[in-house]
Symmetry: C2
Subunit: 278 residues, 2 copies
């Protein structure tokens, strides 16, 4: 699929990104406008043909990032790390769910497509478990097929990771016993119930497990993962590639920075927790 | 759809987010753990039944955010603002493309579902145009059906917005002539070709048009939009709801902060620009 889409690009077309733009930019770029020569990234992603099904061909040196999707997951939990990882030349991201097809988020207003079924993905270099609303998180914490799949993949991952309440799902799979971890700010007490030790931080790395704090913390963790999978040079380039120079217009992004009213209203806004049980 | 999903939640179930968690949290929350009473947000989202098709029922006071999807768009450009806006009680987000169904991103590795066709969405309170890779951006800048649709919606929007190279698409629709705007860092020169005046900032507001810088800048703009659509109190609560307290592990998120090597490598990493034209 990717290969086919790429070959549809007209060779003579001048782009609006990157090489074509740099000529007019005052950022002092050197050879980026030239052809394929001297690129540390370019050759691999083209030479390694995908099978058109979201996984690399057999024998490919590519590393696979498997992102679990489940009914009620939070979109940005998955898309934040995806956006950091998806452009690495030897990394292939694949979304996985019970069944391939659209999977709805916690708000019900958006769906992402799962490319593969759990049963068809038995190994990944990186596993990412996003968080979700109450409904989706709880259902997945009790979903034996998903928990077994997580345990299976975790045996051979390089990194097993989560964002937001995804760590409660990792914990339910028994992966966090006695380990430092983090989660969504309002869910911190639940880590202890699963045997984990809540630890402050945008993300917490312990052995080969990395858990991120709520929702948007997946961007920070994703960038850290790029450094772990590749190197700091590539992580810095990835940060610029997605122009991740955050300037939130407010400063209430953690419970420690927010006042009581803000915390109360935030809890009203999140997910199905705000829906009366009638 | 949303309503049906919500009513499946077991009333007696204790959640892992928010209300259920707050009892054990030391954040001093007051009545958030109680039933529906005293919530400024709660009633509206339940009372306003959705038709199950992604748009509010006729006569609903809800405001609609229409997010354009097109082949080759960048996932985070759409999902960043979505995640800020989707939990507002009187806001409904709907994804729109030529046809309903899965729409692939610039990397080809992920697809989001478009809920509605262009022809079926003739009005929105907020229009959001995400950016994309070279291929997707250029194709959309030349897509007369999309440009006409943008012009049609813009007549009656409260806010017409873009992320990343989405501003080049707004510019192609003739919306930015003589106006300050921003775009992806490597695409800045193209704004002038479309009659706009590149202006520094994570997002640039002029009249009822707001353009954001590259990819992740949509989170900052999304939060600003919440403040514009509601108020600063709700924006602060939204920021906490998605725990947007960014701490990137590196500091090369803008071309001004990055060295030449980083800029060159970033351009190699982005999108189809990195694919040889062979």
């Amino acid at each position: 699929m990717t290969t086919a889409m790429h070959s549809a690009v007209q060779p003579s077309r001048r782009g609006v990104l990157g090489a074509a733009a740099t000529g007019a930019l005052a950022v002092g770029l050197g050879g980026a406008g030239g052809p394929a020569a001297a690129s540390p990234y370019r050759d691999d992603r083209v030479d390694q043909g995908a099978r058109g099904d979201g996984l690399p061909v057999g024998g490919s040196p590519r590393r696979t990032v498997a992102i679990l999707l489940y009914d009620g997951f939070t979109a940005l939990d998955a898309v934040g790390p995806y956006e950091m990882l998806c452009r690495l030349p030897d990394v292939r991201v694949v979304t996985v769910a019970h069944r391939p097809g659209p999977v709805r988020t916690d708000t019900g207003q958006l769906a992402l497509t799962a490319e593969r079924a759990l049963a068809d993905v038995r190994r990944a270099d990186v596993l990412l478990v996003p968080g979700g609303g109450n409904r989706g998180t709880i259902a997945t914490m009790e979903d034996r097929a998903v928990l077994n799949w997580i345990r299976l993949l975790h045996r051979r991952t390089t990194w097993t990771t989560s964002v937001c309440t995804g760590s409660l799902i990792l914990g339910s799979a028994g992966l966090l016993k006695g380990l430092p971890a983090t989660t969504y700010w309002a869910s911190r007490p639940y880590l202890a119930k699963l045997g984990a030790v809540w630890t402050p931080g945008r993300f917490v790395e312990t052995g080969r497990i990395i858990t991120a704090a709520g929702v948007s913390a997946g961007l920070d963790m994703g960038l850290h993962l790029v450094a772990r999978l590749c190197d700091d040079v590539t992580a810095r380039a990835t940060q610029l590639a997605v122009e991740y120079d955050p300037h939130p217009p407010f400063d209430s992004g953690s419970p420690e920075k927010a006042d009581e009213t803000t915390r109360r209203l935030a809890l009203e806004l999140i997910d199905d927790a705000a829906v009366p049980a009638a």
